[in-house]
Symmetry: C2
């Protein structure tokens, strides 16, 4: 579909900086890419004042907003005119090939399954996220869509992750590893052991065995496969450690003149490291296994992060990601 126009439904009301930064991100995307068209979904009265007009940006009115505190599945079911649901309905009806939202992760996952629908052959979806590491940027899935998995689910995640890494992240022959409690073959619980057996049999996968927690940040894999419970804890733990270190460093530096001076001299290095491990820059996580390109941007996204999430959706669509996944199954 390289010549066709790509239509992306963009939830204008999701995230901490909606609708202003979302509208700005839409404009940036249309300025950058000639082949996309963006439908902003949400309250027309609120969107219009933020939006610079552009021939390829349109508004689809939606009167409701899903609150981050709402029960995700209930909110998706009941709020039929919410900005997120309206965006997802466009994907379901084929009026858009993808959908981007900075709203509640839970609602996006619920909507992906209930509104957009699963890809034929996929039992459970997975939320995949780029993980910054020392050597490279890995892709980890699932980080929260499917809490507990069967071995078959993990096999499907491995296939989807491998295609995503190759097509969207442009990794040649991505190495896939399973997150486990040790690298020896006897490690893992029954689910992980079962998944290992299934994945080993798939010739299309470049499988590298298990990966341990301490190897995740070292970057010892291109694709890291785990269930949504483990992935969620690992991702949040990493974010928490970085936040805590930043806070402690700031407090400690305040207490000494020498340290303050040192911090000034060291600022470029710290800034560089911080930027590298700042999850927000990584353009959004992908809900894989649903019948469209569904991308979740970080809740605190400003316009560059919105642009980045739109780029990810565009790449996935241009590369026929779902077509490739379906063919593998």
């Amino acid at each position: 579909m390289n010549d066709k126009k790509i239509v992306i439904a963009l939830d204008a009301m999701g995230g901490d900086n909606a609708p202003g930064e979302i509208c700005k991100g839409a404009l940036l995307a249309c300025q950058k890419y000639d082949d996309i068209e963006i439908i902003l979904t949400g309250d027309t009265e609120k969107i219009k004042p933020c939006l610079e007009s552009h021939p390829r940006i349109h508004i689809e009115h939606a009167s409701e907003i899903i609150d981050p505190d709402e029960h995700p599945a209930n909110a998706i079911r009941k709020k039929k005119d919410s900005s997120l649901r309206v965006a997802m309905e466009m994907v379901r009806r084929g009026e858009a090939q993808g959908c981007v939202s900075a709203g509640s992760t839970g609602a996006i996952v619920a909507g992906g399954v209930l509104v957009v629908g699963r890809l034929p052959g996929i039992d459970r979806p997975a939320l995949g996220v780029p993980i910054p590491s020392v050597e490279k940027t890995s892709f980890m899935l699932d980080v929260g869509a499917t809490v507990r998995c069967k071995p078959e689910n993990l096999l499907q995640f491995a296939l989807m992750g491998s295609i995503y890494s190759h097509k969207v992240m442009k990794v040649a022959n991505p190495e896939v590893k399973l997150l486990s409690n040790g690298t020896e073959e006897i490690k893992g619980d029954d689910t992980v052991l079962g998944a290992r057996e299934l994945i080993e049999k798939k010739n299309s996968l470049n499988f590298g065995g298990y990966i341990e927690g301490n190897e995740v940040v070292a970057g010892h894999a291109d694709v890291i496969v785990c269930d949504g419970f483990n992935g969620n804890i690992a991702l949040k733990l990493g974010e928490g450690i970085m936040q805590s270190l930043k806070g402690l460093l700031t407090d400690e530096v305040k207490s000494s003149f020498m340290a303050k001076a040192g911090m000034l001299l060291l600022a470029p290095v710290v800034k560089k490291l911080w930027a590298r491990f700042n999850y927000e820059q990584y353009g959004g996580s992908a809900l894989l296994g649903v019948n469209g390109a569904v991308i979740k941007a970080h809740g605190r996204s400003k316009s560059p992060a919105v642009l980045s999430a739109i780029s990810v959706a565009r790449n996935f669509i241009k590369e026929d990601g779902n077509e490739l996944i379906s063919r593998e199954l």
Copy 2:
């Protein structure tokens, strides 16, 4: 048992710095505490040259060593004259109340179950470890003894962790939380949900609900309960992030004179933070649920860490930790 002598069997051959640093640690402990007696287990010929003689340090000869690469349970079963098994047999026979080893974690867990034996009423043991955090030092269990758990196991871990936090770490009314993929009550998989129900009913526990990954390092709980699979991944992930940051910082600083100067000025702060999050200083993890005080010192332990692990065993014995656990069950 406050007046009685405390006998601790110490595996002289376990860990990277055995037997030299282990022997030194034994001496430090006997110099610090009047009430302990230490039996070093291992190759007499190798121990003697390292050991300064002390009236309360003895040697129990053991001809074999368990290698870190061996299958833990097989090694414990077959190597009947290994330094670790001989130490654990002393606990089983009641000749020592506790046992300390810097050897393979897997072998210590296997020996705890197969040689020392489980406490009556405990189905599965848990390995607990102090986790440094911003506000306090939390106690996390299980970090690798029981890979997957039933709700009943997690309840038992909560009880054991609470007693350990109170008696050994001296926390008044420790708050216990369950590691989960969110703090809302609807989060968690079936096991965690089931455990939550059981723990809520236990009046003796100060239960605070769920804790998320990002709150672990912030120190939002005194005791963090999880299964051995998640705990192992979380612990190793934290260690890996610290190691990676240290490596990246060192590399970056090398590349600029300004940064080098800044790092010199900042050195005391970085050292302080590093020491705070350096897991090795925390004196050893406790194998709870077995019929004795079984403490695992870090594999890289030098004499102060060996002393620290012995202190932990001594405290647990002095406070009648296992007596209290049995009474709670």
